[in-house]
């Protein structure tokens, strides 16, 4: 990709002006208790909400429950919303729901969040990952952004995401899957911008390590690809 280093983090901003006006209207009607207005917001954001919950939890049933609860909670509390990004506000409720779900799971003997967290945290920043990238690639023109991913590649990426520590998982989902700006992510995660920045970088590095452990699926990156620019 020659000369495209400034590739913006955001894909098209989901709201052009008309949409934004409609959203604001739907929000203020929802704040007066109008459920059908709120359901316009549900229709608009349920994909993002469920997507976040699913990528966070890795379990469709749990993700659906968390998503539904989040919408109920959002409707109950929507009068408290005033401000910039409804999406960020909503996704914060979803992500809180995910953490609550883990907390509840931890109380059960069958599943251990500690084990989950440990698998995400281990080996973070322990090695210099760039050494692995010097190997020649098997498929020089392989470009995941253009090619549709094969099912086993998708499964491998999803599994790798679930191995990240939850805090890193959250920011990487929001930035790279949902295409949100750092500022919006900071609102969802409730952390300073600098923390978002470092978490995203570490999450990407860690993900790369995990994916490179399967070279048959993920050919190492091309050096000449970068030099060309």
């Amino acid at each position: 990709m020659p000369g495209s280093d400034h590739a913006q983090g955001d894909p098209a901003d989901p709201s052009d002006e008309l949409d934004e006006a409609r959203e604001r209207a739907a929000i203020s009607r929802s704040q007066r208790g109008d459920r059908s207005a709120f359901n316009e917001l549900v229709a608009r954001y349920q994909s993002a909400a469920y997507g976040l919950a699913l990528r966070m939890l890795g379990d469709p049933d749990a993700a659906a429950d968390v998503t539904q609860d989040a919408f109920f909670s959002a409707f109950r509390n929507i009068r408290a919303f005033r401000g910039a990004s409804f999406r960020a506000w909503l996704l914060r409720i979803v992500s809180n729901g995910c953490y609550d779900y883990w907390r509840a799971q931890r109380r059960r003997p069958t599943e251990s969040l500690d084990a989950l967290l440990a698998s995400g945290d281990e080996a973070l920043g322990m090695q210099a990952p760039e050494s692995e990238l010097t190997e020649p690639a098997a498929q020089p023109d392989w470009n995941p952004e253009e090619a549709a991913l094969r099912a086993e590649v998708i499964a491998a990426i999803e599994a790798a995401i679930l191995k990240l520590a939850p805090d890193q998982r959250l920011v990487i989902i929001l930035s790279d899957i949902q295409g949100m700006s750092y500022e919006e992510i900071a609102r969802v995660a409730g952390t300073p911008l600098g923390t978002v920045k470092s978490r995203i970088a570490r999450a990407r590095a860690r993900l790369r390590e995990l994916l490179l452990a399967q070279p048959e699926l993920f050919p190492p990156v091309q050096r000449h690809d970068v030099r060309e620019q």
Binding site: V42, A84, E130, E158, I200
Partner: protein
């Protein structure tokens, strides 16, 4: 800022590259790093790796929704919960009074050797409770007041007013799935006034003291537990409706 060229802190250099990829650096930092990248192979490799990782994530398909998450248009749950406070507060208040009266009955009758003055007030109280007991189907014929019904209209009234509330709220409590709790709570106060009249004649007719029935303890227990149940049901319903209200100080709403 010679920082961008300093690889000794690789972690923060990678952080900068990652933000650069997302266009999240300041214009000055962005330009500086672009200049550095022209010469630094290590940073070029890292940037390409970061970009490829991001591309993989972006290429993930959007998961299909398992269902529509729209809220039901008829707020069934909300209506039921909003209804609770209508009767809950009176039920609590009256239940408390009933329970206290019941407790007073029990204390009065549990002490066998009372001083003269207190014994008198105890019997008049039991007379009042006889009137109350006679309205109950099972105990009507067996009621044998020790003295004619004369005194304590205030206590009697509140007892009569209290128990229908207690039972009303009990019914609501057990049938809480039906959405009619409001009407149930307010309607059942009427029989209290309706049954008040017949009590006097009923208790007056059955005034032959054959065998002492433990009227006061029974009434005391009834009032005590009925009142307690009303208080419990009332406070439960109110707590429920409180849960349903938006709790403002939730931390997730503060910064918006």
């Amino acid at each position: 800022m010679g920082n961008a060229v300093n690889h000794s802190d690789w972690e923060s250099q990678r952080e900068r590259l990652s933000a650069y990829l997302d266009g999240e650096l300041s214009p000055a930092e962005q330009a500086e790093l672009a200049a550095h990248l022209r010469d630094c192979e290590q940073c070029q490799r890292e940037l390409a790796a970061l970009r490829q990782t991001r591309a993989l994530l972006r290429a993930l398909p959007t998961p299909a929704l398992p269902r529509d998450f729209s809220l039901p248009e008829q707020p069934v749950i909300a209506a039921r919960r909003r209804a609770a406070p209508v009767w809950a507060r009176p039920a609590q208040a009256i239940g408390t009074i009933a329970a206290m009266i019941g407790l007073a009955f029990l204390i009065a009758t549990a002490l066998p050797n009372l001083p003269h003055g207190m014994a008198g007030s105890a019997t008049s109280a039991s007379g009042g409770s006889a009137a109350y007991n006679s309205t109950l189907p099972g105990t009507a014929s067996a009621t044998t007041p020790a003295s004619p019904v004369t005194a304590t209209p205030g206590g009697e009234q509140s007892a009569d007013a209290a128990t229908p509330h207690a039972t009303a709220s009990n019914t609501i409590f057990s049938n809480e799935k039906t959405p009619t709790s409001v009407t149930a709570g307010s309607n059942t106060t009427e029989p209290a006034g309706g049954t008040y009249g017949p009590e006097h004649s009923a208790s007056g007719a059955h005034s032959a003291p054959t065998q002492p029935f433990p009227v006061a303890p029974v009434a005391g227990f009834t009032l005590l537990f009925g009142g307690a149940a009303a208080v419990a049901a009332g406070s439960l319903a109110r707590r429920r409706s409180r849960d349903d209200e938006p709790d403002e100080p939730d931390d997730e709403q503060e910064s918006w």
